[in-house]
């Protein structure tokens, strides 16, 4: 089933991407083509196969929740496009 422009528009909203008319048309075609290629996977029987989320066998990746080597906050804020002292400025969220 071919990919519709509506679905693409919906995905673009989820992905927080503003696509113009041309891009939307091009991406719809390209994604449709690629998704058809992905259909290949459906041919495989994976009924009793466990999915791989992570290739390395490991379970304990936790440590104690204590602060170690805190980075200087100034360094972390220094790349902000819009800031007000210690704060990042954003467009109004709550009306």
């Amino acid at each position: 089933m071919a990919l519709s422009r509506e679905v693409v528009r919906h995905i673009a909203v989820l992905a927080r991407l503003d696509l113009d008319e041309q891009e939307e048309a091009a991406i719809t075609d390209q994604l449709d083509h690629i998704l058809q290629y992905f259909e290949k996977l459906a041919a495989l029987d994976t009924e009793n196969v466990t999915p791989t989320a992570h290739v390395v066998e490991m379970t304990e990746a936790f440590r104690e929740d204590v602060v170690l080597n805190p980075a200087a906050p100034e360094e972390l804020r220094s790349n902000a496009p819009a800031r007000d002292g210690d704060f990042f400025k954003v467009p109004k969220i709550i009306e």
Partner: protein
């Protein structure tokens, strides 16, 4: 003597004997960068002042009695790897003039070893691509033929080594992005086992696949760089706590009795005949050196490319959600937060990145998750099993690195799927998390390098390096250098 033609070992020996200084070596490299960049464009940022400072510091450390093979050696670092105080772009406009607030662990380790960073190398945007044509900044050209691509996504890292602009580089590899450019540019590049090298401070593309790895003019150079960067890092919860062998120590142990598997699925129609010929000749050489060669099968090879592009794009769609114009980088002002996100990302991301984010978002979305993402994760298990089955009777697997030599700039940009298919021989190795190296095994009639890939069991980089070294030393490909500029 042209210091830029030295290998890491040769330079280290001259430095150790005080016959040259790091300042001299680094200055020679800087001159070379100046005279060759107009042709190749390997670097997004060249860090001349910092490099000369670090070279001076390395010479001082040596005067105080320090030693170490990387002390004072000029290297380049792929621009997806954070370097404190230095602009880091990930090959993307969306990061604007971002200055890294901290070093990646791999950067930290190279600095501790005394290596001298000469600049940040060009790459496909967010490491997404196989030609470096997706860079938001410029096209890097293959030093062997300037009308051709250097491969990708670590194209700048490969071209910098091939063009003698530094003695080694770091790249990253998610679907082949170290090995394939190494093959295109006639250099050596190794992707370690997943979890061998820390990803802390490395701009994430696909977190279950990404690995940092070295590139150099020869196998020994890669071994030295790998030894410096490998090892557990508590700041990367996916890094594995396992000791790091001295990778350069047993390189020359030979390969008598080494069981080498050649997978029949890796010799496909549509492959360049010269590539097949060169790889089969390389396999004969391995046999002459004492290896036991057998044909093996990796039955799910044909499913690797779609599996990868489902998983990698899904993970990328999540990883790239952070580029929102708030904490760093580009920002397109707008009335609402949502519009600001949408416009910032539309302006800042290139078309390949947008395509992959869209794909990834789609395969993770409600109604499609099971059919695509979950399915791909299951196929990933089947692919891993294929390798485990082969490694029950073989020690290494040998294949071509890529189906063709370097293609022309612009040749594959009109059909994304065509570009994806050039990863066919490298991609399964990332899905299975295995170590893999690419090294030169010949040149085609156009004079373009051909790459040989050697893959090993998890954490058996030593075996992979040993096999590569044995082949390298029995041939002369590594002695051929680029000329013409």
């Amino acid at each position: 003597m042209d210091l830029t033609t030295l290998t890491i070992d040769e330079a280290a020996a001259l430095l150790a004997r005080r016959q040259i200084s790091s300042i001299e070596l680094t200055s020679a490299v800087m001159d070379r960068i100046r005279s060759s960049e107009a042709w190749v464009h390997s670097f997004i940022t060249v860090t001349e002042e910092v490099a000369l400072e670090r070279a001076r510091a390395a010479d001082e450390r040596r005067a105080r009695g320090e030693a170490g093979v990387l002390l004072g050696i000029p290297v380049g670092i792929k621009d997806v790897i954070l370097t404190k105080g230095i602009r880091t772009t990930a090959g993307s406009k969306i990061l604007g003039q971002f200055i890294a607030p901290y070093n990646a662990t791999v950067t930290e380790r190279l600095l501790q070893a005394g290596a001298v960073c000469v600049g940040k190398t060009n790459c496909d945007e967010f490491a997404m691509g196989s030609s470096t044509e997706n860079s938001g900044f410029m096209i890097t050209r293959n030093p062997w033929d300037l009308e051709r691509v250097p491969g990708g996504s670590s194209g700048g890292s490969a071209s910098a080594v091939a063009a003698r602009q530094c003695l080694g580089t770091l790249g990253t590899d998610t679907g082949g992005s170290i090995r394939q450019p190494a093959a295109c540019c006639g250099v050596v590049g190794i992707k370690p086992t997943y979890g061998r090298v820390s990803r802390y401070g490395v701009v994430a593309y696909a977190s279950s696949l990404d690995q940092v790895g070295p590139m150099a003019n020869n196998v020994a150079g890669c071994a030295h760089l790998l030894a410096a960067i490998a090892g557990h890092d508590p700041r990367d919860s996916t890094s594995v706590n396992r000791c790091v062998p001295d990778y350069a120590a047993q390189l020359d142990a030979g390969i008598k009795g080494l069981r080498v598997g050649i997978p029949r699925e890796y010799f496909v129609e549509g492959m360049q005949p010269e590539v097949e010929k060169a790889v089969r000749a390389a396999v004969s050489t391995l046999e002459k050196l004492g290896a036991q060669v057998s044909e093996v099968s990796l039955p799910h090879t044909d499913y690797a490319v779609p599996t990868y592009y489902v998983i990698a794009t899904a993970e990328a769609s999540s990883n790239l959600a952070r580029y929102d114009g708030i904490k760093y980088g580009l920002r397109q002002d707008a009335e609402s937060l949502l519009t600001m996100y949408q416009r910032t990302r539309a302006t800042g991301f290139g078309s390949e990145v947008k395509r992959r984010i869209m794909l990834g978002t789609y395969v993770l979305s409600a109604g499609y998750y099971d059919a695509y993402y979950l399915k791909a994760q299951k196929v990933r298990t089947l692919i891993r099993r294929d390798f485990a089955d082969v490694f029950a009777t073989q020690d290494v697997i040998v294949t071509p690195t890529a189906p063709t030599t370097a293609f022309r700039i612009g040749e594959k940009t009109s059909d994304p799927l065509q570009m994806y298919l050039s990863d066919i021989f490298t991609i399964s190795i990332n899905l299975a998390g295995l170590p893999g190296i690419s090294l030169p095994c010949g040149f085609d009639a156009q004079g373009l390098p051909i790459g040989l890939q050697i893959v090993g069991r998890p954490f058996e980089e030593e075996t992979v390096l040993r096999a590569a070294y044995a082949y390298e030393q029995a041939t002369e490909w590594h002695e051929r250098r680029v000329s013409g500029f």
